[in-house]
Every structure is written in structure tokens, then in C-alpha cells.
């Protein structure tokens, strides 16, 4: 026997503990619930956060200025931690940044002082005419003593190679290329263009040449005075800019041959390239800036402008480019800018006094500008996603190698100088196309099937149909995609005509049989007919399929000349892909039918009995009641079913991935494929470098999908709630 007081205390303790637990759990569940909801909704925020840096404007900051010896050439090394200076008296020397400490000086090489030299190319190539008149080419390369990790002890080797004696006086070396020999000799060939007192001259020589080579004049049309010239990448063509504003394109295989002449509009002061050497940058004496490329017009390649950039405030003195993307630097004596070729965005612009040199680091994140007073100013530039702009995402862009601006998605290429093409339009188009074909297939089937199930099917039948369709909804899409891609697509290719004939064949069979049906005694019809039509139709469908299969080849021979694919090609110019939109439409339709069916059936089923009874009592037939009363009343529910179905079709990944060729084309033809936003993400994101432009663009695509489906589903949900409320009043 416990003491009553003790018992009381005991129960008091229990109560206290219970209350404590209660409060604790209330807190835990509230906090937990709110956190989970926040986390779930935070998904959208996270995806948006990952995509957002795409649209961050480029930022730059002035770094410390420092003094370097006077020079005539400037280049930043890959790491941005050292600058190479060219001075005719002292040759090449390397300074550590940002303090300007001298690291190493190349003492060998052409005899100094140098008479002339070309600008330093972004990869460190340089051509020098030594005091002895010989031309020597060099390519800078860091030499790292083994085991030495301190860059302070590295040396920059110019790798001087060959020296070619020249006949004739050179005023200024303009451009050169070293190309690998192709013939049996195999030696490397040097091609040089330079200005001389008698005009623009060029030479071609093997690197191991010992006999002096004479400069030959470039045959300019009369009345034109060359101001600048540049070899293209393989040195087969020479571009010349003139005082008169003409860009001349010479074919340089054998003797120079003027191919085309394009007008620029103002005196040309500078020529350059972006990485890859496809786009020719042209700068004018009054600051005009444009990019040209070779476009095939009537079987002839012609230089045509394809990008224009905001003008600079004076004569363009030079170009150089970054090695990571299509950005380039252009400078005048008072302004230095960095633009991106593809997007035409100006990433960087600064006003300076008396600039003599300007260069951009290979990574494109550091800019050095030398001025006449010997000071070098530097800026950091942060524009990691310069290759993306609103216009390049949603609009037409004129890409390198394309004849006109176009919507293109091609995110990766095989080479370093590939121009990524992040046009979302082909993907959005593909998504809509796939969705459209899927809905065209699914909507009639699903809605009429739902109407039948809710209004006409017998109770027994309905109780088996609904779960069957629900299970259809659970079919993994990878199984559907596999069947569509590996079984249906080849089958469809073979029997496309038969499948298209199938509805007509079935209809034909039905028309043949309906008169017999309507002649059956009323009693038979009620017993076998009402509510069981679906069972009777099944054999008819199979019969229809059989008839279609039998008549198909005949139809093809009679009307399509034996092969529908040849007919499509010749009569309509349509190519037939095996994995095409019809296959996707079918498979994806299959995936959305159950969703649309279930929601529509629920809506149709919830139409109050009083309405249908009233309609039937007024003498309307069952079909009239279903079509004129039930369907309109439930239409908001059906609308929401369609919205949910749309959402599912838009985001479907595996089916599209497996049943289409995933080519991002923009073509409504049902006989070729497409690439959708979802499939594109699945294909490309595993290989996308973390936080690169592609990665972020794919996040943007995901955000788009998210927003799209979220809006569709919300509309559907709101409509459905309103409908539910409306029926509650009955």
C-alpha cells in the first residue's frame, strides 16, 4: 500500500512529465514541420541562386599601379603573376607582379638592339629582326627546374628557332606565322608580312634558310594604302586593312591573289583575332569596332561583318585576346576595353592617359595597361559568364561559322577555341513540341475514357478500370522509354502507314457492324450493351488493327509509290528519323493518360446526381446529358487535369531521352526528333564543370521547368478547389 500522498505526488510527476513531453513535441513538430516546408520551398531558391550569377554584371577593380622599364611589348603569363616585357635594347625580361620585381632576362637570341619586332602573341609567339637583319622567331615557355615549386626561380625561355636573313629594309614587322611543313622536306615554314618604304611586303621561307630571302610586295589594288595586315591561322590567307577603309582578303597559296574586298567605312587602323582565328577583329581610326568572318555567298567565301561593338573614343591601336573564351581586348591611346565576341557585351572599359601598351591575361581576368610615363596600371576583371547574356539565351545570335543569326544549342565542342552556343529556344521549342504531340495523343483518349467510365460504364467495370489505370500511372517511365526507343520506334518505322490507317479501319469495321447491332432485340442490347460497350469494342479494335495491317502495303503502293519514306522525302522534302516526335508523343501520351484520366474522372464523377437526374427526366438521352450537362459542369476539373498532364509531359525526362535522337532542331515536323529542357539537363549536367557557364545555364533550365510546372499545378489546384467548393452547395 502506498501512501495516498505519495501516490498523489507520483501522479503529479507523471502529469508534469506528460505536459513537458507534450510541449516539447509541439515545439519539435512545429519547428520540424516548418523547417521541412522551408527546405522544400528552399529548393527553388537554391536553384535560382545557382543560376543567378549568369546575369551578374562583370565587375572589375583597379589594382595597384607599378613602374616597369619602358618597353614596346607586354604579355601576361597564364597565372597572371608575371609580365613579359619586350624592349629592343634589352630583349625579353620577366617581372613578377604585382611588385614589378625582375625575375629573369633572356640574354641569348637575336643580336640587340632589335630593329623591329611583331607584337607578342597571346601564346607568347614573337618575331624579331635582330641588328644583323636576320629574322628570328621565338615562342615563350616557362622552364621549371625539376623539383622547384617557387615560381620566383622559374625562367622564361624564348625558345628562339631559326633565323632567316632578309633582303630589303623592313620598317615594321606586322604579323607572322610558323607553319609545319607538309612536304617531304618537313621543315617549318615562316611567313612574314611587314611594311617597307615601298609598301606592304611579305616573304615565305624555310626556317633553316641560310641564303637571304627577298621581300615581295603584296599586290594591292592601285589607290589603296595598307595600314595593317595579319595572317590567318594557317597562313593561307592574308588580311590587309587600308587607309581607304577596305579590308582585302588575299589568298596566299603560291602568288598572292586578291579574293574579296569588303568596305569597313572608315580608315582601318588595326586588325586582330579572337581565339580560334575565325573572327577577324577590325578597328578603325575613328574608333569603330567590328568582327568579320568568312561566309559562303554563292559558292564563294566572302568576309562579312557579323558582330558590331560600341565604338571607342579614338584610333584603335591594337587587339589581343584571352585564351579561355571569346573575349578580346582593344585599346586606343585613351581607352581600353574588353568585349565578348558572342554576346557583344562590353565587359570592361576604362579611360587612361597616353596608353602605349595593353594586354589581357590568358585567363581573361587581369588587364595591364602601360602608359607613356612608364607606369603600368592593372585591373582585375571578373566576368566568368561573359559567354551568356539575355540575348544569347533567348534570342538569335550570329555564331562563328554560321551564315546568319540563329537559335542554336551546342554547349560543348572538341576544341579549346570552341564557341559555346547557349540558345535556350531550341530546347524550349523541343519541350513544347514533345508536349504538344503527347497531348494530341493523350487528351482525346483520356477525357473520353474518363467520360465513359464515369457516366456509362457499369459499376463492376468501373471498379476494375480505375485501379488498372492507377497502376498504369505508376509504370516507371524508363520502361516506357525503353519500349518506345527500342521496340516501338523500329516498329513504327516499318508500319507507320498501317498505324495511321488503323483508326479508319476500325471505324470501317464498326460501321459495318453497327447496323446489325441496332437490329438486335432491345433485350439483348440492354443485357450485353449498356455499360459494357468497352468489352465489345476490344475485338473490333483488334480486327481493325488486322485490317489496317493487311491493307497497309496495298495503300502504300497505290498512293505513296511503294514506300512512304521515299514519298515523304520526294513529295514534301521531309526526312524521317526513326526516333521521331510521333513515337515520343505516343510514349509520353501513354505516361500522361492515367493522370488526366484519374483527375477528369474524379471531376466528372463528382457532378451531383441531381443535375443528371434532372436532365434525364427532361427527356435528354444519356449521351446528351453527359455531353451537355456533365461535361460543362465538370469542365474546370478537366481543365485542371489537362494542366497537371501538361506539367508531367513538360518535365518528362527518360522517355524523351530514350525515344528521341536528342537533336536540338527547331522543326515542327512529326517525323524528326527534338531535345527537351529536361532531357538536355540529363544529358549534359554530368559533364558540366562545377559553376561554369554550362552548369549555371542548366540550372536556369531546371528553374524554368520548376517554375513552369509549379504555375501549371497551382492553377490546376486552385481550379480544383473552387470546383469542390461549388459542388458542396448541392
Amino acid at each position: 500500500m502506498t501512501h495516498p500522498n505519495q501516490e498523489n505526488q507520483e501522479s503529479h510527476r507523471v502529469q508534469k512529465r506528460a505536459r513537458l513531453v507534450d510541449r516539447l513535441m509541439a515545439g519539435v513538430i512545429s519547428v520540424g514541420g516548418l523547417t521541412i516546408i522551408a527546405a522544400v520551398l528552399g529548393m527553388m531558391v537554391f536553384i535560382a541562386k545557382e543560376a543567378l550569377p549568369l546575369f551578374k554584371p562583370p565587375s572589375s577593380a583597379a589594382l595597384s599601379a607599378f613602374k616597369l622599364p619602358p618597353s614596346q611589348g607586354l604579355l601576361l603569363d597564364e597565372s597572371g603573376k608575371a609580365a613579359v616585357l619586350v624592349s629592343p635594347r634589352e630583349g625579353l625580361h620577366v617581372h613578377r607582379l604585382p611588385d614589378g620585381h625582375l625575375l629573369s632576362t633572356s640574354t641569348d637570341g637575336p643580336k640587340r638592339p632589335w630593329l623591329s619586332h611583331t607584337p607578342l602573341q597571346p601564346r607568347g609567339e614573337l618575331l624579331v629582326q635582330g641588328e644583323d637583319g636576320k629574322l628570328t622567331a621565338g615562342a615563350l615557355k616557362w622552364a621549371k627546374p625539376s623539383g622547384e615549386n617557387n615560381p620566383a626561380n622559374w625562367t622564361l625561355e624564348p625558345n628562339w628557332q631559326g633565323s632567316v636573313p632578309v633582303l630589303g629594309a623592313i620598317q615594321k614587322l606586322l604579323s607572322f606565322r610558323l607553319t609545319e611543313g607538309t612536304g617531304l622536306g618537313g621543315g617549318r615554314t615562316l611567313r612574314v608580312v611587314a611594311s617597307t618604304s615601298s609598301g606592304l611586303a611579305w616573304l615565305e621561307a624555310s626556317l633553316d634558310e641560310t641564303q637571304p630571302i627577298a621581300l615581295k610586295l603584296v599586290p594591292l589594288p592601285s589607290g589603296l594604302n595598307a595600314t595593317c595586315a595579319i595572317w590567318n591561322l594557317d597562313a593561307r590567307a592574308l588580311y590587309v586593312g587600308t587607309q581607304e577603309g577596305a579590308i582585302l582578303d588575299f589568298k596566299m597559296e603560291g602568288e598572292p591573289e586578291l579574293l574579296t574586298r569588303s568596305e569597313f567605312g572608315e580608315p582601318i587602323s588595326s586588325l586582330g583575332f579572337t581565339i580560334g582565328g575565325t573572327s577577324l577583329l577590325v578597328g578603325g581610326a575613328k574608333g569603330k569596332l567590328a568582327a568579320y568572318q568568312q561566309v559562303r555567298v554563292n559558292e564563294v567565301f566572302q568576309l562579312q561583318p557579323f558582330h558590331a561593338f560600341p565604338a571607342l573614343d579614338g584610333e584603335v591601336l591594337g587587339f589581343t585576346y584571352g585564351l579561355r573564351d571569346k573575349r578580346f581586348l582593344a585599346w586606343t591611346s585613351t581607352q581600353v576595353v574588353v568585349d565578348h565576341l558572342t554576346t557583344e557585351r562590353r565587359l570592361f572599359s576604362v579611360m587612361v592617359d597616353q596608353a602605349t601598351q595593353a594586354t589581357i591575361a590568358p585567363r581573361g581576368d587581369l588587364i595591364l595597361v602601360g602608359t607613356t610615363d612608364g607606369r603600368v596600371r592593372s585591373w582585375s576583371l571578373s566576368a566568368p559568364h561573359a559567354d551568356v547574356s539575355q540575348k544569347s539565351l533567348w534570342g538569335k545570335v550570329h555564331y562563328e561559322g554560321y551564315e546568319k543569326p540563329d537559335f542554336v544549342w551546342q554547349s560543348t565542342g572538341g576544341t579549346d577555341d570552341f564557341e559555346p552556343k547557349f540558345g535556350m529556344m531550341p530546347l524550349i521549342f523541343g519541350t513544347l513540341k514533345g508536349t504538344l504531340y503527347a497531348m494530341l495523343f493523350a487528351l482525346p483518349l483520356a477525357i473520353f475514357a474518363a467520360l465513359y467510365t464515369s457516366q456509362f460504364a457499369s459499376l463492376n467495370l468501373r471498379n476494375t478500370i480505375k485501379p488498372a489505370v492507377e497502376i498504369m500511372a505508376a509504370l516507371p517511365s524508363v520502361v516506357l522509354g525503353f519500349l518506345a526507343g527500342l521496340v516501338l520506334a523500329p516498329l513504327f518505322e516499318k508500319i507507320a502507314v498501317e498505324l495511321l490507317l488503323f483508326p479508319f479501319a476500325t471505324l470501317f469495321c464498326m460501321l459495318l457492324l453497327i447496323p446489325f447491332w441496332s437490329r438486335l432485340p432491345q433485350k439483348w442490347r440492354t443485357i450485353w450493351g449498356d455499360g459494357r460497350e468497352v468489352i465489345w469494342v476490344a475485338p473490333l479494335l483488334i480486327l481493325g488493327l488486322f485490317v489496317a495491317y493487311q491493307t497497309g502495303p496495298w495503300f502504300e503502293r497505290a498512293f505513296l509509290g511503294g514506300s512512304y519514306r521515299a514519298w515523304l522525302q520526294s513529295a514534301h522534302g521531309i526526312t524521317f528519323d526513326q526516333r521521331n516526335s510521333l513515337v515520343v508523343g505516343f510514349a509520353m501520351g501513354f505516361a500522361v493518360i492515367p493522370i488526366i484520366f484519374t483527375i477528369s474522372e474524379d471531376a466528372l464523377n463528382s457532378v451531383p446526381k441531381s443535375l443528371t437526374s434532372a436532365s434525364l427526366a427532361c427527356g435528354a438521352s444519356p449521351w446528351q446529358t453527359a455531353w451537355r450537362v456533365v461535361l460543362p459542369t465538370a469542365s474546370p476539373g478537366i481543365f485542371s487535369a489537362v494542366m497537371v498532364g501538361l506539367g508531367r509531359a513538360i518535365g518528362e525526362t527518360m522517355i524523351v531521352l530514350m525515344a528521341t535522337g536528342n537533336t536540338p532542331v527547331m522543326d515542327w515536323s512529326p517525323f524528326n526528333g527534338m531535345r527537351t529542357l529536361a532531357a538536355n539537363i540529363a544529358v549534359e549536367i554530368p559533364e558540366a564543370p562545377l559553376h561554369g557557364s554550362l552548369y549555371r545555364v542548366l540550372f536556369l533550365a531546371a528553374l524554368l521547368l520548376f517554375a513552369f510546372t509549379f504555375v501549371l499545378n497551382t492553377i490546376a489546384e486552385l481550379v480544383r478547389q473552387r470546383l469542390r467548393k461549388r459542388f458542396e452547395t448541392f
Binding site: I29, A39, V479, I514, S518, P553, I650, F699, T714
Partner: protein
């Protein structure tokens, strides 16, 4: 006729039309499931080996498909001729008119091999160390007699390779890594000693393995194709010998189940196109289990909060709409989120905090089963929330009030009365979530699924459950083998079987959920909404 016109006017034809639409839907479902079942179930049934005289000589193989004459195309027969290493391809098409002298030789053999797929033909002889033991018919008997022992040996080798050697490798790597970060000389010496002993163990294992391998290689079998080409392979390279034309019904059944067992319980071979899919089954089950463990508390807590604790208002309604709608957000979006958030953000941070010695090789900063499960848990949370809410609402009011009236606190009521009442509903939600999770592939492709995982996420080496490991998955297996495999035509039967298995699992889960829900509704009297 009048009757017919009236029948038309009353719109009965449209009833028939809509019935037709439903009929098409149902036929499609039945057709699809039936097609996969038919294609999948016959995969392991031994086919007759048919020998014919073709345009290039004798051909032996299984007839895989027949195309009736179509338009201008003549009838064609597809043979699975096997012998990939000799013919370069598994399948050959012949015009039906080209082949003649069809027969089914009793002594034709189907030899399943570890490498290069099946062999169709016969055994010429069996040799040990170059000395012939038996030829022709006797050789077949000899091979059959020696095969079980050889397969056992083979299994032993595989076990050592996968288990002990892998284990030692991992230990050695750990040892080296700690040595790099260890500064004290004494500890280094101890580690070095440990490394030495591990190394000697390793060498010992290697010699053991080498001995076993030599043993496997001593006996070799020369195979003979029907057109006279020979191929010598070690006896250990043979998996099974099937005298396909000489099997009685019982033998066929036995073979069927033996192959089925291999499919379910063995590792894949030949870049997943042969052998079994055990790792994929195991990976799928593991992933779904981990997902379930995560999704139930998440979903139930959310539902409890929404239904029992939060004050019903605009906010709760909005949140409910939002959570419901998450079910409609494309799964690939969840995959993208999983990749960006779980793998790169969370996993990358974990790596930096705890596994920095292994960097730049990521541990958690790359796809793994835990991230895949978390992503799928997020994906399926709405399913559980909706089902749980429904079940919570269905618990009769009087039960709660009775509990409260007896002085129970709110939590006590929920724990003892509401949750037990709602358990079947929660279970339904969980099963639906599992079925959705098992069939989902797109998000997994971004968060940790691979075509061939070197090790299982659960094994005998410490700490047994490896949440950071990549895994194999049935759905991805279908995609990979069907679409990325170099020999997808030969792999098709396997894909059908895998699809059938996946379909079976998903449909079964759904049927169970359906039954549960029906029972629950019957008990509580009708739908609750």
C-alpha cells in the same frame, strides 16, 4: 433504318466512341504489360538450335525473329549465331529463300562463356597441359564432369579478388594516407611496419591467386563451330553447357530456373549484357530502404504539423497547395537540386571538413547512395504528406475527444490514438513513395547511380554501410544496357527481363497500397475528402 437514325440522334454512337477510347487505353496497358512479360519470361527458356545451309555455308543458331514478306522485301529470318569472337557479331539475317536443309542436330551445344557471349557448336576435345584427355562425345561428358569443380575454383578466385584483395588494398591506402599526414617518427615507423605486414599479406594472397589461376588455365577445351572453325578456351571460361536439342521438358525447366537464379543472384558480365543483375537489385533495394527511412519521419512530421498543430489559415492552405504541387515538379529538377545542393554543396563541405586528406579525390563530394536517397526522399515527401494528412483527417473525432476527455495531453492523444489509427494510411503513402522511388531514374543519374559499381554499399568491411558509395539501379540498368551498350541487340533480352522485374516490383507495391487504402476506407466509411 429509322431505328438506326434514332440511335444516331440520341448520341449512342458517341457512347460507343468514348467506349472505344477507353478500350484503346486498356488494350494499351494490357498490351504493354503482356508484351514485356511475354518477352521477358521466355528469355531463359532454352530455344531449339537450328542448323541450316545458308549462302555462306552451314549456320547453327537460334531463330530469333521472322519477318514476313513486306512490300518488295522478301521474307527474312534472323539467327542468333553467337560466337562473337569468331563471327564478329551475334546476329545474322538471312533471306528465307536462301536457306535450306533445316535440321535440329541432337548433339548441337549451346555453351555459355564468361567472355565473348554464347558459343554455338560442339566440343572437339579437352586437353590438360596440352595432352588430350578426351575427344568428341567423350569430351562433352568429361567437360560436364569437370565443370562444377572448375566453377567452384572460379568462384573462389572471384571471392578472393573482390573480398580479401580489395580489403587489403583499402587498408594499404589508408595506411599510406595516414603516413603522409603523420609527423612523429615513432608513429611513422609503426605505420611503416604495418604497411610491410600488409604488403606481405598482399603478396601471399597474390601468389595464392596466381596458383589458382594457373590451375584454371591447365585444362582447356577446343570448341568447334558448325562451319569448321575452332576456338580454344580454358575450361574455367565455360559457365554452362546446354545440349539444347537434347533436353526433355524437365531439363528445360531446370535450366530455366538455373538461368533465372543466375540472373537474380549473380554479378553482371560483358559490360552488363550478360550474367546477373544482383548488384542492381541490391542497390535499388538499399536506396529505397534508405529513402524510406528518411521520407517517413519527414512526411509524417510535416503532415502532423499541417493537420494537427498549425492554425488553419491562408498560410497553411498555401503551403498545402505548394507541397501538393511539389509532386508535379519534374523529377529531373530534383536531380539538379540534389546534384547542386547535396553533392556539391553539402558533400563538398563534408569532404573539406573530414576527408581533406583524400582530396582532390572526393568522398562525399561526388554522387553516392546517400545523396540519391535524400534526393528521392525529397521527391516523394509530397506523396507521404498527402497520404498521411488524409489518414489523420480520417481518424474519427470522437476517438480524439475521448482521449482528451480522459486527461491525455495532445501529444499523448496523437501518439496513442491518432497515429495508430492513421498507420495504414501512412503505410499506404510509404508504399506509394517506395514504388515511385524504385521506378525513378532521371534524378539518380545525377546523384550517384553508375553502370557498374566496383563495390556494394553494404559489405563486410568496416564500417559495413558505405553511404558514400555509388550504386547500381534497375531502372538505370535498363537505360544503360538498352541505349549505351555497344551490343544492345544482344542485350535486349536482358533488358526485357530487367524491365519485367522492375515492373513486377512497382506493380506489386501499388497493388498492396491499393488494397491497404481500400481496407482503410472501408473501415472508416468512405472517402474523407
Amino acid at each position: 433504318m429509322k431505328l438506326f437514325m434514332q440511335w444516331l440522334r440520341r448520341g449512342n454512337v458517341f457512347i460507343w466512341f468514348s467506349g472505344t477510347m477507353l478500350s484503346i487505353c486498356l488494350l494499351m496497358i494490357v498490351g504493354l504489360v503482356g508484351f514485356i512479360a511475354a518477352k521477358g519470361l521466355v528469355v531463359f527458356w532454352p530455344q531449339a538450335l537450328v542448323q541450316v545451309h545458308g549462302p555462306e555455308g552451314e549456320v547453327l543458331g537460334e531463330i530469333t525473329s521472322y519477318e514476313a514478306p513486306f512490300g518488295t522485301e522478301p521474307a527474312k529470318v534472323q539467327f542468333r549465331v553467337g560466337n562473337r569472337d569468331i563471327y564478329g557479331q551475334d546476329f545474322k539475317w538471312f533471306k528465307a529463300a536462301e536457306i535450306s536443309r533445316r535440321q535440329e542436330p541432337k548433339d548441337a551445344l549451346l555453351i555459355e562463356r564468361l567472355e565473348n557471349g554464347a558459343f554455338f557448336g560442339s566440343i572437339r576435345d579437352i586437353t590438360q597441359d596440352g595432352q588430350p584427355i578426351a575427344i568428341a562425345g567423350a569430351a562433352v561428358e568429361e567437360v560436364k564432369r569437370r565443370l562444377p569443380a572448375m566453377n567452384k575454383l572460379q568462384a573462389q578466385i572471384r571471392k578472393i579478388e573482390k573480398g580479401a584483395v580489395g580489403d587489403l588494398n583499402r587498408k594499404l591506402e589508408d595506411c599510406r594516407r595516414t603516413m603522409e599526414s603523420e609527423s612523429s617518427a615513432k608513429a611513422r615507423a609503426a605505420l611503416e611496419q604495418k604497411e610491410q605486414s600488409l604488403k606481405s599479406q598482399y603478396d601471399q594472397l597474390q601468389t595464392e591467386l596466381d596458383q589458382l589461376r594457373v590451375k584454371v588455365k591447365t585444362i582447356s577445351v577446343t570448341l568447334l563451330t558448325v562451319d569448321g572453325k575452332t576456338k580454344e578456351i580454358p575450361l574455367g571460361g565455360i559457365v554452362r553447357i546446354v545440349p539444347a536439342n537434347d533436353l526433355n521438358w524437365f531439363g528445360k525447366v531446370r535450366l530455366y530456373f538455373s538461368r533465372l537464379w543466375e540472373f537474380v543472384a549473380d554479378d553482371p558480365r560483358e559490360s552488363n549484357t550478360e550474367g546477373g543483375i544482383f548488384p542492381a537489385i541490391f542497390g535499388t533495394v538499399m536506396m529505397v530502404l534508405i529513402m524510406s527511412m528518411l521520407v517517413v519521419p519527414l512526411g509524417v512530421v510535416t503532415a502532423l504539423f499541417l493537420r494537427e498543430y498549425a492554425k488553419d489559415g491562408l498560410l497553411v492552405r498555401a503551403v498545402r497547395v505548394a507541397v501538393n504541387n511539389l509532386a508535379g515538379v519534374p523529377s529531373i529538377v530534383f536531380g539538379v537540386f540534389g546534384l547542386g545542393f547535396f553533392v556539391y554543396a553539402v558533400g563538398g563541405t563534408l569532404d573539406q571538413l573530414f576527408y581533406s586528406s583524400k582530396l582532390p579525390t572526393p568522398t562525399f563530394g561526388t554522387g553516392g547512395i546517400i545523396w540519391a536517397s535524400l534526393t528521392l526522399a525529397l521527391l516523394t515527401v509530397p506523396v507521404v504528406v498527402v497520404a498521411t494528412e488524409e489518414a489523420l483527417a480520417a481518424v474519427p473525432r470522437n476517438q480524439r475527444e475521448a482521449s482528451l476527455a480522459l486527461g491525455a495531453t495532445k501529444w499523448q492523444t496523437i501518439w496513442n490514438v491518432v497515429l495508430p489509427g492513421a498507420a495504414p494510411g501512412i503505410l499506404t503513402g510509404l508504399i506509394l513513395a517506395m514504388s515511385r522511388g524504385a521506378g525513378e531514374v532521371a534524378p539518380l543519374m545525377l546523384t550517384g547511380v553508375v553502370k557498374l559499381a566496383p563495390a556494394m554499399p553494404l559489405d563486410g568491411s568496416f564500417p559495413f554501410l558505405h553511404l558514400d558509395r555509388k550504386f547500381m539501379h534497375l531502372g538505370f540498368h535498363i537505360y544503360d544496357v538498352g541505349f549505351q551498350s555497344p551490343n544492345s541487340e544482344a542485350a535486349k533480352p536482358m533488358v526485357f527481363m530487367t524491365a519485367l522485374l522492375l515492373l513486377f516490383v512497382v506493380v506489386m507495391l501499388n497493388l498492396v497500397a491499393l488494397r491497404l487504402r481500400r481496407k482503410l476506407r472501408a473501415r472508416l466509411g468512405g472517402s474523407t475528402f
